[in-house]
Symmetry: C2
Subunit: 113 residues, 2 copies
DNA sequence: ATAACATATTAAAATATATTTATATGTTTT
DNA sequence: AAAACATATAAATATATTTTAATATGTTAT
Protein backbone atom coordinates (compact mmCIF):
# COMPACT_ATOMS: atom_id res chain seq x y z
CA UNK A 1 0.00 0.00 0.00
CA UNK A 2 1.44 3.35 -1.06
CA UNK A 3 1.54 6.32 1.32
CA UNK A 4 -0.75 8.11 -1.10
CA UNK A 5 -3.42 5.40 -0.78
CA UNK A 6 -2.95 5.31 2.99
CA UNK A 7 -3.35 9.10 3.25
CA UNK A 8 -6.53 8.78 1.18
CA UNK A 9 -7.91 6.27 3.70
CA UNK A 10 -7.09 8.56 6.61
CA UNK A 11 -8.57 11.58 4.85
CA UNK A 12 -11.78 9.65 4.20
CA UNK A 13 -12.02 8.64 7.86
CA UNK A 14 -11.31 12.19 9.00
CA UNK A 15 -14.93 13.26 8.99
CA UNK A 16 -17.46 12.68 11.73
CA UNK A 17 -20.27 11.66 9.40
CA UNK A 18 -18.12 9.13 7.59
CA UNK A 19 -16.76 7.82 10.87
CA UNK A 20 -20.31 7.17 12.03
CA UNK A 21 -21.13 5.48 8.73
CA UNK A 22 -18.17 3.17 9.35
CA UNK A 23 -19.41 2.40 12.86
CA UNK A 24 -22.86 1.62 11.46
CA UNK A 25 -21.27 -0.83 9.04
CA UNK A 26 -19.40 -2.85 11.69
CA UNK A 27 -20.49 -6.42 10.94
CA UNK A 28 -23.44 -5.11 8.93
CA UNK A 29 -24.35 -4.47 5.34
CA UNK A 30 -26.77 -1.55 4.88
CA UNK A 31 -28.46 0.25 2.03
CA UNK A 32 -28.05 3.99 1.47
CA UNK A 33 -31.48 4.75 2.90
CA UNK A 34 -30.28 3.58 6.33
CA UNK A 35 -27.86 6.53 6.36
CA UNK A 36 -30.44 8.90 4.93
CA UNK A 37 -32.71 8.23 7.90
CA UNK A 38 -29.81 8.53 10.36
CA UNK A 39 -28.25 11.82 9.28
CA UNK A 40 -30.02 15.11 8.75
CA UNK A 41 -28.41 15.65 5.39
CA UNK A 42 -29.55 15.62 1.78
CA UNK A 43 -29.36 12.43 -0.26
CA UNK A 44 -26.57 13.68 -2.56
CA UNK A 45 -24.50 14.65 0.51
CA UNK A 46 -24.73 11.09 1.85
CA UNK A 47 -24.04 9.75 -1.61
CA UNK A 48 -20.91 11.87 -1.77
CA UNK A 49 -19.65 10.65 1.61
CA UNK A 50 -20.17 7.07 0.44
CA UNK A 51 -18.25 7.88 -2.74
CA UNK A 52 -15.30 9.20 -0.70
CA UNK A 53 -15.29 6.04 1.41
CA UNK A 54 -15.63 3.86 -1.70
CA UNK A 55 -12.80 5.58 -3.60
CA UNK A 56 -10.56 5.19 -0.56
CA UNK A 57 -11.29 1.47 -0.57
CA UNK A 58 -12.92 1.59 2.85
CA UNK A 59 -16.30 0.34 1.70
CA UNK A 60 -17.56 -1.85 -1.10
CA UNK A 61 -21.04 -1.79 -2.59
CA UNK A 62 -23.33 -4.08 -4.50
CA UNK A 63 -26.72 -3.46 -5.98
CA UNK A 64 -29.72 -5.61 -5.11
CA UNK A 65 -32.77 -4.44 -7.03
CA UNK A 66 -33.23 -0.75 -6.46
CA UNK A 67 -31.14 -0.79 -3.30
CA UNK A 68 -27.37 -0.51 -3.14
CA UNK A 69 -25.82 -2.17 -0.10
CA UNK A 70 -22.60 -0.97 1.48
CA UNK A 71 -20.18 -2.99 3.61
CA UNK A 72 -16.69 -2.46 5.06
CA UNK A 73 -13.52 -3.65 3.37
CA UNK A 74 -11.35 -5.14 6.14
CA UNK A 75 -8.19 -4.74 4.01
CA UNK A 76 -8.30 -0.97 4.43
CA UNK A 77 -8.46 -1.27 8.19
CA UNK A 78 -5.65 -3.80 8.21
CA UNK A 79 -3.47 -1.25 6.40
CA UNK A 80 -4.27 1.41 8.98
CA UNK A 81 -3.64 -1.01 11.83
CA UNK A 82 -0.19 -1.69 10.40
CA UNK A 83 0.75 1.98 10.50
CA UNK A 84 -0.53 2.23 14.07
CA UNK A 85 1.91 -0.44 15.18
CA UNK A 86 4.79 1.68 13.94
CA UNK A 87 4.76 4.02 16.97
CA UNK A 88 3.17 1.54 19.38
CA UNK A 89 5.92 -1.04 18.96
CA UNK A 90 8.83 1.35 19.53
CA UNK A 91 10.05 0.78 23.09
CA UNK A 92 12.24 3.82 23.54
CA UNK A 93 12.56 7.16 21.80
CA UNK A 94 15.99 8.23 20.56
CA UNK A 95 16.69 11.94 20.25
CA UNK A 96 18.30 12.77 16.90
CA UNK A 97 20.97 15.45 17.17
CA UNK A 98 20.21 18.18 14.60
CA UNK A 99 23.91 18.86 14.10
CA UNK A 100 24.89 15.31 13.13
CA UNK A 101 21.90 14.45 10.92
CA UNK A 102 22.70 14.76 7.20
CA UNK A 103 21.19 17.90 5.72
CA UNK A 104 19.58 19.01 8.95
CA UNK A 105 19.82 22.59 10.20
CA UNK A 106 21.58 23.87 7.06
CA UNK A 107 22.78 27.17 8.44
CA UNK A 108 24.34 25.57 11.52
CA UNK A 109 25.93 22.91 9.37
CA UNK A 110 27.65 25.39 7.06
CA UNK A 111 29.18 27.21 10.02
CA UNK A 112 30.39 24.02 11.72
CA UNK A 113 32.22 22.97 8.52
CA UNK B 1 -12.15 9.45 23.11
CA UNK B 2 -14.97 11.28 21.30
CA UNK B 3 -15.70 10.69 17.63
CA UNK B 4 -14.85 14.33 17.05
CA UNK B 5 -11.35 13.87 18.48
CA UNK B 6 -10.92 10.65 16.54
CA UNK B 7 -11.99 12.32 13.28
CA UNK B 8 -9.44 15.07 14.00
CA UNK B 9 -6.70 12.44 14.32
CA UNK B 10 -7.70 10.83 11.03
CA UNK B 11 -7.93 14.18 9.29
CA UNK B 12 -4.45 15.07 10.51
CA UNK B 13 -3.04 11.79 9.22
CA UNK B 14 -4.84 12.23 5.89
CA UNK B 15 -1.99 14.12 4.26
CA UNK B 16 1.09 12.63 2.65
CA UNK B 17 3.51 15.11 4.17
CA UNK B 18 2.18 14.59 7.69
CA UNK B 19 2.16 10.83 7.18
CA UNK B 20 5.85 10.98 6.28
CA UNK B 21 6.53 13.17 9.32
CA UNK B 22 4.90 10.46 11.45
CA UNK B 23 7.06 7.79 9.84
CA UNK B 24 10.17 9.88 10.51
CA UNK B 25 9.18 10.06 14.17
CA UNK B 26 8.83 6.31 14.69
CA UNK B 27 11.02 5.69 17.74
CA UNK B 28 12.74 9.04 17.20
CA UNK B 29 12.55 12.56 18.49
CA UNK B 30 13.48 15.19 15.91
CA UNK B 31 13.69 18.95 15.74
CA UNK B 32 11.79 20.95 13.12
CA UNK B 33 14.89 21.48 11.01
CA UNK B 34 14.97 17.74 10.27
CA UNK B 35 11.69 18.13 8.39
CA UNK B 36 12.80 21.35 6.75
CA UNK B 37 15.70 19.55 5.14
CA UNK B 38 13.50 16.60 4.13
CA UNK B 39 10.60 18.37 2.42
CA UNK B 40 10.83 21.00 -0.29
CA UNK B 41 8.47 23.31 1.51
CA UNK B 42 8.74 26.62 3.32
CA UNK B 43 9.36 26.71 7.08
CA UNK B 44 5.88 28.05 7.94
CA UNK B 45 4.30 25.27 5.87
CA UNK B 46 6.15 22.63 7.91
CA UNK B 47 5.33 24.51 11.07
CA UNK B 48 1.65 24.41 10.12
CA UNK B 49 1.70 20.66 9.46
CA UNK B 50 3.29 20.15 12.88
CA UNK B 51 0.60 22.32 14.44
CA UNK B 52 -2.14 20.17 12.86
CA UNK B 53 -0.47 17.02 14.21
CA UNK B 54 0.01 18.65 17.62
CA UNK B 55 -3.58 19.88 17.91
CA UNK B 56 -4.83 16.40 17.00
CA UNK B 57 -2.72 14.96 19.83
CA UNK B 58 -0.58 12.90 17.46
CA UNK B 59 2.70 14.57 18.39
CA UNK B 60 4.07 16.30 21.45
CA UNK B 61 6.86 18.85 21.49
CA UNK B 62 9.40 20.22 23.93
CA UNK B 63 11.88 23.00 23.55
CA UNK B 64 15.60 22.45 24.16
CA UNK B 65 17.47 25.69 23.66
CA UNK B 66 16.59 27.11 20.29
CA UNK B 67 15.39 23.78 19.00
CA UNK B 68 11.94 22.32 19.47
CA UNK B 69 11.82 18.54 19.41
CA UNK B 70 8.80 16.57 18.23
CA UNK B 71 7.86 13.01 19.17
CA UNK B 72 4.85 10.76 18.66
CA UNK B 73 2.10 10.35 21.25
CA UNK B 74 1.32 6.60 21.36
CA UNK B 75 -2.12 7.27 22.91
CA UNK B 76 -3.39 8.70 19.62
CA UNK B 77 -2.34 5.60 17.72
CA UNK B 78 -3.87 3.34 20.33
CA UNK B 79 -7.21 5.11 19.77
CA UNK B 80 -6.95 4.58 16.03
CA UNK B 81 -5.97 0.93 16.50
CA UNK B 82 -9.11 0.44 18.58
CA UNK B 83 -11.35 1.68 15.78
CA UNK B 84 -9.54 -0.56 13.32
CA UNK B 85 -10.45 -3.62 15.36
CA UNK B 86 -14.13 -2.77 14.95
CA UNK B 87 -14.36 -4.14 11.38
CA UNK B 88 -11.47 -6.59 11.70
CA UNK B 89 -13.01 -8.50 14.56
CA UNK B 90 -16.45 -8.99 12.97
CA UNK B 91 -16.57 -12.58 11.71
CA UNK B 92 -19.62 -12.37 9.47
CA UNK B 93 -21.58 -9.58 7.82
CA UNK B 94 -25.33 -9.44 8.37
CA UNK B 95 -27.47 -7.74 5.72
CA UNK B 96 -29.92 -5.31 7.28
CA UNK B 97 -33.31 -5.32 5.55
CA UNK B 98 -34.23 -1.72 4.64
CA UNK B 99 -37.93 -2.44 5.18
CA UNK B 100 -37.64 -3.70 8.75
CA UNK B 101 -35.08 -1.18 10.04
CA UNK B 102 -36.70 1.62 12.07
CA UNK B 103 -36.85 4.85 10.10
CA UNK B 104 -35.17 3.39 7.05
CA UNK B 105 -36.50 3.97 3.53
CA UNK B 106 -39.24 6.40 4.66
CA UNK B 107 -41.30 6.34 1.49
CA UNK B 108 -41.45 2.56 1.38
CA UNK B 109 -42.28 2.41 5.05
CA UNK B 110 -45.28 4.76 4.74
CA UNK B 111 -46.73 2.66 1.96
CA UNK B 112 -46.27 -0.63 3.82
CA UNK B 113 -48.20 0.77 6.83
C1' DA C 1 -44.86 2.20 -21.56
C1' DT C 2 -45.41 4.98 -17.62
C1' DA C 3 -44.84 6.11 -12.92
C1' DA C 4 -42.50 5.66 -8.69
C1' DC C 5 -38.35 4.44 -6.25
C1' DA C 6 -33.36 4.35 -4.79
C1' DT C 7 -29.23 6.17 -5.74
C1' DA C 8 -25.66 8.65 -8.51
C1' DT C 9 -23.89 12.60 -11.00
C1' DT C 10 -23.32 17.42 -12.20
C1' DA C 11 -22.84 22.26 -11.45
C1' DA C 12 -22.79 26.06 -8.36
C1' DA C 13 -22.16 28.08 -3.89
C1' DA C 14 -20.31 27.78 0.74
C1' DT C 15 -16.71 26.35 3.69
C1' DA C 16 -12.32 24.58 5.06
C1' DT C 17 -7.42 23.67 4.30
C1' DA C 18 -2.76 24.58 2.57
C1' DT C 19 0.80 27.58 1.01
C1' DT C 20 3.32 31.79 0.79
C1' DT C 21 5.16 36.20 2.33
C1' DA C 22 6.05 38.99 6.08
C1' DT C 23 6.71 39.46 10.87
C1' DA C 24 6.99 38.07 15.77
C1' DT C 25 8.83 35.24 19.73
C1' DG C 26 12.14 33.00 22.47
C1' DT C 27 17.08 31.45 22.66
C1' DT C 28 21.99 31.58 22.13
C1' DT C 29 26.26 33.75 20.77
C1' DT C 30 29.18 37.63 20.48
C1' DA D 1 22.73 44.79 24.09
C1' DA D 2 23.01 43.47 19.43
C1' DA D 3 23.09 39.94 15.95
C1' DA D 4 22.02 35.40 14.48
C1' DC D 5 19.27 31.27 14.99
C1' DA D 6 15.12 28.15 15.26
C1' DT D 7 10.50 28.21 15.20
C1' DA D 8 5.79 30.18 15.50
C1' DT D 9 2.08 33.26 14.15
C1' DA D 10 -0.71 36.32 11.09
C1' DA D 11 -2.60 37.81 6.89
C1' DA D 12 -3.43 36.99 2.13
C1' DT D 13 -3.97 33.94 -1.61
C1' DA D 14 -4.59 29.48 -3.74
C1' DT D 15 -6.64 25.05 -3.61
C1' DA D 16 -9.61 21.42 -2.08
C1' DT D 17 -13.76 19.75 0.17
C1' DT D 18 -18.56 19.86 1.36
C1' DT D 19 -23.18 21.03 0.64
C1' DT D 20 -27.20 22.06 -1.96
C1' DA D 21 -30.29 22.14 -5.90
C1' DA D 22 -31.23 20.16 -10.17
C1' DT D 23 -31.02 16.30 -13.10
C1' DA D 24 -29.76 11.66 -14.68
C1' DT D 25 -29.50 6.47 -14.26
C1' DG D 26 -31.03 1.99 -13.30
C1' DT D 27 -34.80 -0.83 -11.13
C1' DT D 28 -39.40 -2.31 -9.96
C1' DA D 29 -44.42 -1.97 -10.04
C1' DT D 30 -48.46 -0.84 -12.54
Amino acid sequence: MTDKALAKIFKALGDETRLEIVRMLAGKERCVCAFLSTFSMTQPAISNHLRVLREAGIVQDSRDGRWIFYRLNPDAFAAVATLCQLPLSQPKIERIDPLTEPGACPKQKEESA
